[in-house]
Structure formats: C-alpha cells, structure tokens
C-alpha cells in the first residue's frame, strides 16, 4: 500500500524556530489560546472538574477539554500563561504539559482528514442508493425496468467514482510515473475498467452491471484509508506535541539588557542567563553565579553537582538553586544536543527501511490481480472464439472479486483498535511500524534514573531524627527550590509537623539555606558548608549551632516499575538494567526489582554498543529510557519507549511515548502488540481465503454482481469484527 510518509523533523531546533516565531506573533494579539496536554483525563467527572475550575480562573474566557485527544484548549486574556494553567491543573491533581499552538495548528492535516471523511460519506451514500436499485435487479427486474435501474445506478456511480476515487487515481498515477507497482495501480485499473464496462453494458441493455460493486469497493477501501490516515495523524500530532512540549528559547544578556531569543539565534560568545529551575539551552562556561546542576538527564547521576565560575555546562542540564550566567561555547549545529539530533535522524532513516507485513502482503498481491484478470480475459477470448464482450465481462468480474477490499482494512482496522487501546492506557505511538516491531521484541533494556525511578529523591531516615530537628529542617527546606529540599519539606509536611519559625532566611546558591532559630545559626545544605562529614549516599545536612544531622535520600521508584518488570519476565522477556549511575545504587535497584542483568557506569556509547551486541546475538531489543545519554541507545534499539518527562531528543528518538507516570502500560503494550500482530495475520489469511474460494468462481464465468457484492461486504465485515475483538 502506498503511503505518503509524514515524518516529524528530527531536529528539535528546526521545529522550534517557526514555533518561536509563532509564539512571538501570538504575544501581539490581545487574547491568548493556550493548549495543554492532560494525559490523565478519562471521564465525565474529569471534564466537568477541569472546565468548571478553569472557568473560575481570572482571565480565562473559556476552557474546553477534548477527551479524544486528551487536550485542553483555553481561551484566555493576554497575560495568562500556560504555566498558570498547568499549576492550576496540578492542584486539581492532573499532570499537564504545555503544547505549542503554533506547531499544533494542524490545518493541513485536518483538511485532509475531513476531505477523506467526506469521500467516505459520499461513497457510502451512493453505495446505499445503488444497492437499493440493485436489490430490485437481483430479485428479478427485467427488460426496460432493469435498464432504467442500471442507468440510474450509473448516473449515481460515475460522479461518485470521479469524486471519491481520486486518492487511488492520484497514487496510481504517482506510482506509474515513478515506474513502481503498488496496490493503487490495480485498484484504479479495476475501478476504471469496471465503470467503463458497466456503462457499456447498461447502454447495450446488458444483464450485468457492476456499479454497486465498484462503489462498494471504493467505500471499503476509503474506510481503510481513513483509519490509516487517522492513525498517522495521531502519530504526527504526538510527535508535534513532543516537539511542542518545550520551545527552546534562551535569555540573552547584552550590555545588561535581557532579551528572550530562540536558541537558534544564539552565537558563540553570547552571554546567556539561566534562572533557577531552567534548563541550560547551550553548551558553555559559567561566567558568573553559583548554583547546583541536575545532570540526571544527560548522565543518569542522581546527585546534583556544584557549578560556579569556569564550570563547563552542557545543553539539557537543569539549573537548581542560583541564577547562572553562561558564555556560549557551542550553539546550534555544534552543540551536543544537535549532534544527538543528527544521530537520531540517522537511526530513523535506518528504521524507515523496515518492511511492514502490510507492505509484504501488498507487494505479493498487487501483481496477481491484473495477471489473473488478463489471464481470464485471454482464455475466455480463445474459448469463446472471439467473444470480446463475454471475455471482458468475466475479466471484470474476476478483477472486482480479487480486489483487495478486505486487505485494505485488514491492517488499519487492527492498528486503529490497538493504538486506541494503548492511548487510553497512556501510551502514544509515534511511528506506524512501532507496534509491529514491538511484537518481535524478546529483550527489554531499562534505563534507571527517570525511567524506572522518578528521578526525584525521597528522604529515607526521617525516623532517626527528633521532631524538633525535623521542624527546623522543614522551616529551612521550605525556603529553597532545590529538589532535595523540596522532597524533604514534602516528606516532613506529610507527617503533619509545622515548620519552626526561622528568622533571616537566606539561600546561598550552590550551598544551601541558612537562618537564625532561637538565637542559633541553622543551616541546611552541603556537608562541607554545614560543617558535617560527607557520606557515600545522596544526602542533605542540617546544622543547629555546632551539631549536625544527616538526611539521606534515595530515588523514588516510578509507580508500576515492579509490575512492569515482573510481567515482562512472566512474558518470557529478558530484562536488563543499564545506567550511568554508580554500581552500588544500580545493584540495589536491580535487586529490589528482581533484575538479574545490570550494568552500571555505562556511558552513552556503552549503552548503544550493548544493544548492538544484543542485536548481533539475534535478540530484538526494546529500549526504555529518558535521558540524553539514552538517545543513542533508543535509536539503535529495535523499538524504543520514553516517558513524557524525558528530554526532547530522547522523545524524538523513541517510537512510543509514555504519557502516564505509571510504567505498567509498557508491559501491556508488549503483550498487546503480540495479539495485534496475530489479528493482522488472521485478517490477511481471512481475506486470502475468500479470494481462494471465489476467484475460481469468477474465472469460470459464474460470478454475478450479487456474488461480488456479497463477498466484498462479508470479508470486509469479518475483518473489521476480528480487529474489534482486541477491545
């Protein structure tokens, strides 16, 4: 089946540049339209909770939730930011991601979809009306009545074919010019020849006209086409959603003036301001400021690292505590992010070469149709001693019966049913062939930080501390946006403890928070600054006067991590854990989850090499990862999944994106893909068997239009029903 492949741009910056322009344009209009993705919505209560709450939000004109797309569109006055909406949704308990309106204005795609749907509608209408007339003919109308009915049928069918048959004719013409053979060639040939012969027969008062069969063929094929289109449009919008999740912009400092510019506009030597909580947009050197950097996305390390003047930073790191000024050493094409994107583009082009089962079936089937009917034509021409009309009629009958009506539905129906099911579980399929590749997987490789774990720390030894100390720690921790401080504050608050009153609270970027409590100086922060001895584990230290306390942290498991590993192992898959983190942490996690094979301190290249080695042994690998250090591995793997919290490069490199926080859908996806492939194979066999039975009937000249219509509808319906069994 010929398809026009619409691929997302592999380079995030290319997507971002127009998006940033669109954003700048948007700022000028008084009313803002904000789009956010809300993956967790699922019911009527969600709709009314969200819409009702947002309607109360100041500045919001209206809000509407699209449950099919899990997307909220907010019409608001200028000044309302997406981040405000997201914060509000967060309080309601819904995780949300910002989408870029510019990238998502899918007018072209939407127009194509509507046009296809309109063609489906028109051919459906024509089919029903012609069928009414045909039933009369089949039940015995004769002579002038039959001719009249045929004539009316033809008057409906010819314009319908001209209107609704265009997608097939267009593709066939394209293939013809490129001297390729695809499914649309024989289909167009069959449609045109049948219409031509049927018109001729009608004018000659012939007994058989195949108008209803032609229109029915177009109708069923268009339904398949539309399903395919929908699946691709959803995949495309998923990719766009991801590109839109973050518009790469940077704050440039020039002569003390700040301006927000697209990352693509930055040049080497520019000074960029990175605020706490922001992501470093470029590779560079810190010139001013002190802070801590979260490198988890790049290296998998959970421990934030200190950054001060002369520290080298790379794009993708997150600034935690203090503002930093960074001098750009590499931007745009030279940055590490862009090199990753190139790598991803290479891997994607390799994946394009994957031949799907539908393509295999079509390439085996496409030449058979014209060959069979041509054969029938010549044999009958010879047998009948030169009866052109009889032989043409038989050729047309066999052509219309062999036409792969059910084949056109066999794959799209299953893919639509299964991707819809996965979407409801929170998995977006970005690539059309991903489901098929997923079914072949026998080994699953997980990344640690951000994938099996949340990438957020959790205090582990709160019970070892006195209530008074905890209250002081809470008072200090609440003043900081550092992830350790926030995790500590959250955990202590959950115990119902009120914070101690602390005076003169100040945050010292890169070190911690200090203040005065009951006449003593109290500090919460790094070991050396507080005056404590640093231990081996991730920890924050508290000092009250001269005494010090240590709060140790461990990374929190992502919900469903245990389930997913167990159920993958139950399905007979080999599970690996690969991380850039230190061996003790990785081994500990592997033991907790029951993973036998693990590898620590793996560099990005090591991960990719390991996957290649597994491939060389004949394994098909599913890689699940989120960091920049996983990107190479994600694109090397047979199929890959990344969580929505992953870095853009990682999401761009993977075939599926997990929108929910829960990991469990990954295991479901693996088992579902197997079932889906089985359904696809059953469907292909089913439509094949119909042909094996009915083609000889057509070839012997016994087929009537009634037979053709019967075979076509029965096979299409059984194929669709079989696909729906997935639900």
């Amino acid at each position: 089946m010929s398809t026009i492949t619409i691929r997302p741009s592999a380079c995030p910056a290319c997507d971002a540049a127009p998006a940033a322009e669109a954003l700048a344009g948007r700022a000028a209009v008084p009313d803002a339209k904000i789009l956010v993705s809300v993956p967790a919505v699922h019911c009527a209560a969600c709709i009314s909770t969200i819409e009702r709450d947002l309607a109360k939000m100041p500045g919001v004109n209206s809000a509407r939730l699209n449950l099919t797309l899990r997307r909220l569109s907010v019409d608001a006055k200028a000044g309302v930011e997406a981040s405000d909406v997201i914060a509000r949704l967060d309080r309601l308990g819904y995780e949300a991601h910002e989408l870029d309106v510019g990238t998502l204005s899918m007018t072209e795609t939407e127009r194509q979809g509507r046009e296809l749907l309109m063609m489906v509608g028109v051919s459906g209408f024509a089919m029903m009306n012609i069928m009414l007339l045909s039933v009369a003919v089949w039940s015995g109308a004769e002579g002038a009545t039959r001719d009249l009915f045929h004539l009316i049928s033809g008057l409906i069918a010819v314009p319908t074919v001209a209107f609704a048959g265009r997608p097939f004719f267009r593709n066939a013409w394209k293939a013809l010019r490129a001297r390729r053979m695809d499914m649309d060639g024989p289909i167009s040939f069959a449609i045109l020849l049948t219409v031509f012969i049927s018109t001729y027969e009608t004018l000659q008062s012939g007994e058989h006209a195949y108008f209803e069969a032609v229109v029915m063929l177009i109708f069923f094929l268009l339904v398949g086409r539309y399903l395919e289109f929908r699946a691709r449009a959803i995949a495309r919008s998923a990719a766009q959603e991801l590109a839109a999740l973050e518009v790469p912009r940077a704050t440039r400092l020039r002569a003390g003036v700040e301006s927000v510019v697209p990352v693509a506009d930055l040049a080497v030597g520019d000074i960029v301001l990175v605020r706490p909580g922001g992501r470093v947009p470029v590779d560079g050197v810190v010139t001013e400021g002190q802070s801590e950097l979260d490198r988890a996305l790049l290296t998998g390390e959970t421990l934030p690292v200190f950054a001060g003047p002369a520290t080298l930073v790379s794009a993708g790191e997150v600034n935690l505590t203090g503002p930093l000024q960074v001098r750009v050493t590499a931007a745009g094409k030279d940055s590490s992010l862009h090199r990753m994107a190139d790598l991803v583009a290479n891997a994607e082009s390799a994946r394009m070469r994957y031949t799907t089962i539908a393509e295999k079936a079509a390439s085996a089937y496409a030449p058979t149709i014209p060959i069979l009917s041509l054969g029938a034509f010549f044999v009958w021409f010879w047998l009948s001693g030169g009866d052109l009309r009889l032989s043409l009629n038989i050729a047309v009958a066999s052509l219309i019966i062999t036409c792969p009506c059910a084949l056109g539905l066999a794959v799209p129906a299953v893919v639509t049913a299964s991707s819809g099911k996965l979407f409801r579980k929170g998995l977006l399929i970005k690539d059309g062939t991903a489901l098929e590749r997923l079914a072949e997987v026998d080994t699953v490789v997980f990344d640690k930080t951000g994938t099996l774990t949340m990438g957020t720390p959790e205090p582990t030894n709160l019970d070892a501390h006195a209530t008074g100390d905890l209250r002081v720690a809470l008072g200090l921790a609440e003043a900081s946006s550092h992830p350790l401080a926030q995790a500590l504050a959250r955990a202590i608050r959950e115990r119902g403890l009120p914070p101690a009153k602390i005076a003169e609270l100040t945050e010292v970027p890169g070190y911690g928070v200090e203040g005065q409590w009951q006449g003593q100086r109290v500090r919460l922060g790094r070991a050396d600054w507080v005056g404590a001895k640093a231990g081996a584990v991730t920890a924050a230290y508290l000092s009250i006067g001269a005494e010090t306390r240590c709060f140790s942290f461990a990374d929190q498991l992502r919900p469903g991590a245990q389930t997913v590993v167990r159920s993958l192992q139950a399905q007979g898959k080999e599970v690996w854990l690969m991380s850039g983190d230190v061996p003790e942490v990785v081994r500990d996690l592997a033991q907790r989850l029951g993973i036998a094979q693990w590898q620590a301190e793996a560099l990005p290249a090591d991960k990719a090499a390991k996957i290649e080695a597994l491939h060389a042994e004949g394994h098909k690998v599913l890689m699940v990862g989120d960091g920049l250090n996983d990107t190479a591995a994600l694109s090397t793997a047979h199929v890959s999944i990344s969580p929505a919290s992953a870095l853009d490069a990682a999401r761009a490199a993977s075939d599926m994106v997990l929108l929910s926080r829960d990991l469990a859908p990954v295991a479901d996806a693996v088992s579902l893909s197997k079932t889906a492939m089985q359904r696809i194979r059953e469907n292909l066999w089913q439509s094949g068997i119909y042909n094996i039975i009915f083609v000889p009937i057509a070839l012997f000249g016994l087929a009537t239009p009634l037979w053709a219509a019967f075979v076509m509808s029965i096979s299409s319906i059984t194929v669709t029903l079989n696909a729906l069994r997935l639900k």
Partner: protein
C-alpha cells in the same frame, strides 16, 4: 410500475438529505471529540439551561 416514478426520486432525495446532514455535522466539527461527547451527557452542569454558545464550539 408508475409508482416507481415517484419512489425512486423520493429515495434519492432522502438519501441526499442524509448526505447533506452528514456533511453539515462534519463541518460543524461533531466528530472532533467523540469520546468526550459521549461522556458529556453525564455532566449535570447544563441540565437546566443550555450552555451559551461560544467561539470554540462553532466552526
């Protein structure tokens, strides 16, 4: 058989009516969010009076 002269145009007209209705609903965006629409009937917010028509529901 004279009745056919009436019945055929009548059936064609009715079919055409259905087609027009379909195209109208398509243009109105009624197939944009089938899942949401099926859930919205459970929402009691507009039971007493309909929601005032606003921009995002048109077109």
């Amino acid at each position: 058989m004279e009745v056919l002269a009436l019945l055929i145009p009548a059936s064609l007209f009715l079919g055409l009516l259905g087609l027009v209705a379909f195209l109208w609903s398509l243009r109105k965006g009624q197939y944009d969010d089938p899942e949401g629409d099926s859930q919205r009937i459970l929402d009691p917010r507009y039971d007493d009076k309909p929601k005032p028509v606003d921009e995002d529901q048109r077109g």
